[in-house]
Amino acid sequence: MLWTWPTNRYGSVWNELDRLQRQMSRLFEPFAGGQGNIGSFPAVNLWTGEDQALLTAELPGIDPDKLEVTVKDNTVTIRGTREREELKEGETYLRQERGAGTFVRSIAMPFKVDDAKISAQYQKGILQLTLPRAEADKPKKITVNAG
């Protein structure tokens, strides 16, 4: 791997705590009220490879046309809407657990993204972004000559 994700440097225990804290705040989100949870949905996983990264997010039942992905330097923003299915006349909900609404999430990548080569795929309710590292951002190899 050519870069390290910032949290890695604290070692795995801190990573774990970080993750726990995130999960806790996610848990209490509904009580935060109002705009409390803007910016933390959808949950994302980041996979890093040699020269690019994969960002995945679970977004079931979202019209891909209503998903907007933008990149600026090293920040990736996912914006979208999940429409609420309107009830027809004479229909009632016996149970309603699925949420709907608009969401925005920005994720800072540990490198500058080549916005021309970014690709997005939406399959089975999962959004996957392939984020190549910008050429200019890649580390240069310097050959060491023997004196």
Binding site: M1, E29, N45, L46, W47, E58, P60, L94, R95, G101
Partner: protein, 132 residues
């Protein structure tokens, strides 16, 4: 708003059988809508498709299951994780008014839609009034 109600939840109640796998099991979020002709059940199951969903009807218990095998993309390592991947499972008890032979299921974009029609006898009928 959207956030917390779209994220899946890990199963709270243990399944009736002990699991021999390590992957977590999630309880899909579900909407159940009653229409004049039956019920419409909509479940969020990101990552599953028609080949990985099974629907079993045993007596009056309807169980929906989705298997999702997490796989590592080749050449990548998981460096940051906010959500886990695993199977889905949830059971429902059907009333006698559901026509068990007419249940239909469709999966699209990680959403399972089950149509559970009511038996003909309980569907509302309008009786035409004729002029005497």
């Amino acid at each position: 708003m959207a956030g917390s109600a779209i994220c899946k939840r890990e199963s709270e109640t243990p399944a009736r059988t002990e699991r021999a796998q390590q992957n977590p099991v999630f309880t899909p979020r579900v909407d159940i809508r009653e229409t004049e002709t039956g019920l419409l059940l909509v479940a969020d199951m990101p990552g599953v498709d028609e080949s990985s969903v099974t629907i079993d009807l045993e007596g009056s218990e309807l169980t929906i299951r989705g298997t999702f095998v997490p796989k590592t993309p080749e050449g990548y390592t998981l460096s940051y994780q906010e959500y886990a991947c695993g199977d889905y499972e949830r059971a429902f008890t059907l009333g006698d008014t559901i026509d068990r032979d007419q249940i239909k299921a469709v999966v699209k974009d990680g959403i399972l839609r089950l149509t559970l029609p009511k038996v003909k006898e309980v569907q509302p009928r309008r009786i035409a009034v004729n002029v005497g």
